[in-house]
């Protein structure tokens, strides 16, 4: 997974207290009281409790949690639709929390736009006017505004509906308009608050794929709020999991799946098929010998290497570590006994053996792992050899996630019995 490591959004110790005297609740928090006891003592609600995370430029960062976990509050503090009680939000190093009203308006006009769960389209404006809404507020002149709004509608496939009104459109189409409105201002950061949650499952998946496709064409930083784990896994480069106003874990889907921080996170991932989430790249190991072929390679040299390394297979690569083929000690031995020439090595390559991609899921590579007698080689997009996935390794990964789940089940049963 390639990622631009530049920090786009930095959130530092962000708090939100809902209630008349947030200072009082903040003091209690500092003394170590939790959300429940603060609510009991003061009647105030801790919406977000000491959240810190960074979002990197160009990634889709999913904030996931159940309703009431504070995820919608957190996203609204990024553009200050909700004022934070304490803490800082930095975007491109600029402190959003300290902005004066006119600076904030400019920031919202040009840097950050938003897509809403309820679409929030203006019913009295046409699709085109809705798409151009942000540009109109930014006082872009009329022709330019129309041109950019049409472009945005084209991106979401709705250019034919420019003169319709939102209520004439289906839910999925309305949210496309919402997305076009967000894209038309060409923001650095797009906030999506449960943007696809109100759509039918089928349309939802379609929109998710489309978002990923748009993201491939034009990298934006997207903060996506979701309560749907499948959605988070499908589109998220990284996921933050929230519970009761706290961020419990941040990481790539694979990291979280393989190393859940606590029972809450583990419970979230119950029922997820790990083979869909864990990719070949996550479990690849460089445990087999590689044969560097500079010109043609040599059968004898390969034989030598294999017998000394105590392995049955070796993986041939070129000087740029690009994958070429696989040889087995048995195959080379046979070839030599049959009086084959020493070169080239490629005559001894196992037929029909190929490499799998680093981001293929375990599900994708299952046929290869199951049917081949040798470990499956893994390469990246440039065909560079990364290592192998053996049957053993594959099964052990499966077993471990199964075990996690079994333990979770036992714990749950024990709790129910009590």
């Amino acid at each position: 997974m390639k990622r631009d490591k530049m920090d786009k959004i930095v959130v530092e110790n962000l708090f939100k207290i809902f209630g008349p005297q947030p200072e009082k609740a903040m003091e209690l928090i500092k003394k170590g009281h939790d959300k429940e006891s603060i609510h009991e003592k003061t009647g105030m609600t801790v919406g977000v409790n000491d959240a810190s995370f960074t979002v990197q430029a160009g990634e889709i960062f999913v904030v996931m949690g159940l309703s009431g976990s504070g995820k919608s509050t957190i996203v609204r503090m990024l553009n200050r639709l909700i004022e934070p009680t304490a803490g800082r939000v930095l975007v491109d190093g600029k402190n959003v929390t300290a902005m004066k009203p006119d600076e904030l308006v400019r920031f919202r006009l040009h840097t950050m736009s938003m897509v809403f769960q309820s679409f929030a389209l203006m019913p009295h404006m046409t699709v085109l006017e809705n798409a151009a809404f942000g540009l109109e507020l930014a006082k872009v002149d009329k022709d330019k505004r129309k041109e950019r709004a049409i472009q945005a509608l084209e991106q979401v496939g709705l250019e034919g509906w420019a003169d319709s009104y939102p209520k004439e459109l289906s839910g999925g189409m309305q949210q496309r308009v919402g997305l076009a409105r967000g894209l038309a201002v060409d923001p650095d950061v797009l906030l999506m608050d449960e943007a696809f949650s109100a759509l039918d499952p089928l349309i939802r998946t379609e929109m998710q794929d489309e978002l990923v496709k748009l993201q491939e064409k034009h990298k934006r930083t997207i903060v996506f709020i979701s309560h749907d784990l499948d959605e988070a896994l499908r589109i998220g480069d990284r996921i933050a999991i929230m519970e009761g106003g706290r961020i419990v874990q941040v990481g790539t889907p694979e990291e979280i799946l393989q190393n859940p921080a606590d029972d809450y996170v583990r419970a979230f991932f119950r029922g997820v098929d790990p083979t869909n989430v864990i990719s070949a790249g996550d479990i690849v190991r460089d445990t087999y010998p590689t044969i560097l072929i500079t010109k043609t390679g040599s059968l004898r040299a390969a034989h030598e290497l294999l017998s000394s390394s105590d392995r049955d297979f070796a993986y041939a690569i070129d000087a740029q570590r690009r994958f070429l083929g696989i040889v087995s000690s048995e195959g080379i031995q046979q070839a030599l006994e049959n009086g084959a020439k020493d070169t080239p090595l490629s005559q001894a390559f196992i037929k029909d053996a190929h490499a799998v991609q680093i981001d293929d899921s375990m599900q994708d590579i299952l046929p290869e792992v199951a049917s081949w007698s040798f470990p499956v080689p893994v390469v990246n997009e440039e065909n560079v050899y990364k290592g192998v996935v053996s049957k053993n390794r594959f099964l052990r990964t499966l077993h471990r996630t199964e075990q996690d789940r079994a333990e979770e089940d036992e714990a749950l049963e024990a709790r129910q019995e009590n």
Partner: protein
């Protein structure tokens, strides 16, 4: 127990009004001036126009907002009023209703907007509006006459007091009914408070505001007879005259004129509200 009044509120109020009349006459004259100008302008204007032009204008408005049926109804009603010999009185009433409704909107809509934005202002305004709507008109007719003397302008002022609450209340309601997520969306895209109000809240509240306008017009028409008590002209005066001289025929003719003009204005403004 309470045989004798202990709190002499009646004396206080009388003294207070006397004091206002004696010391602040110029303030009330300043309030009176724009209303007087508007009313006189409309009154002379409408009466100077040829009836055919007025009827045609009303018919076109009815046709544009509603349709052919209402246009016919308006024409028939107004021709009938003219044939009853009530044309001049009807124009005066129309001028009074229009000018009081104009000032109701000028004051009432901004008040409604403020009330929608501030709970505190709303809680202060609400009892004032309640009082304006429920205080019997006779209670404030006397001070109005003392402060503004008798005539059409005093009639319009009494009408404004009574007819303003609906448009204020419904403006308030209309703006509060705009979905919060639409306001939030506008803010998220960088709208200032003024832009939120003008581009989102008012356009979306407009049907409700127009329903308030309709109510305000109806209430203004219902004040026509009471305004005639303090010397306002128009369709109210034949009714009062008929009442005082037991001339039932005259009272019915004036009353019929009010009802017909009310129906025409009601249907037109209602279809305006629905069309939005």
């Amino acid at each position: 127990m309470f045989e004798e009044g202990v709190i002499p509120l009646d004396i206080w109020v009388s003294r207070f009004v006397d004091w206002l009349v004696n010391n602040h006459r110029d303030v009330f004259q300043a309030i009176k001036w724009p209303i007087e100008q508007t009313l006189n302008g409309l009154d002379t204007g409408l009466n100077a126009l040829h009836p055919v032009i007025v009827i045609a204008a009303v018919a076109i408005a009815a046709w544009r907002f509603s349709g052919f049926g209402l246009a016919i109804f308006s024409v028939v009603s107004m021709v009938f009023i003219g044939l009853l010999g009530m044309w001049a009185d009807t124009m005066t009433t129309l001028a009074m209703v229009l000018s009081s409704v104009l000032f109701c909107c000028l004051a009432g809509i901004p008040l409604g907007i403020l009330a929608a934005r501030s709970e505190r202002f709303d809680s202060v305004l609400r009892p004032v509006l309640d009082a304006m709507q429920t205080t019997p008109a006779f209670v404030y007719l006397v001070p109005i006459v003392m402060l503004f003397s008798v005539g059409n302008v005093a009639g319009v002022l009494a009408t404004i007091v009574f007819a303003m609450p609906p448009i204020t209340r419904l403006t308030n309601l209309g703006i509060r009914q705009v979905h919060p997520e639409l306001v939030e969306a506008a803010q998220a895209f960088g709208a200032t408070e003024w832009q939120v109000l003008v581009r989102v809240q008012i356009p979306l509240a407009l049907p409700t505001i127009l329903a308030g306008l309709n109510q305000t017009i109806m209430m203004a028409l219902s004040m026509v007879v009471i305004a005639a008590l303090i010397g306002a002209g128009g369709l109210g005066s034949p009714v009062i005259l008929g009442l005082n001289t037991l001339d039932i025929g005259l009272a019915v003719v004036g009353g019929l004129g009010i009802v017909l003009i009310a129906m025409v204005l009601d249907r037109i403004t209602q279809s305006m509200a629905q069309k939005k």
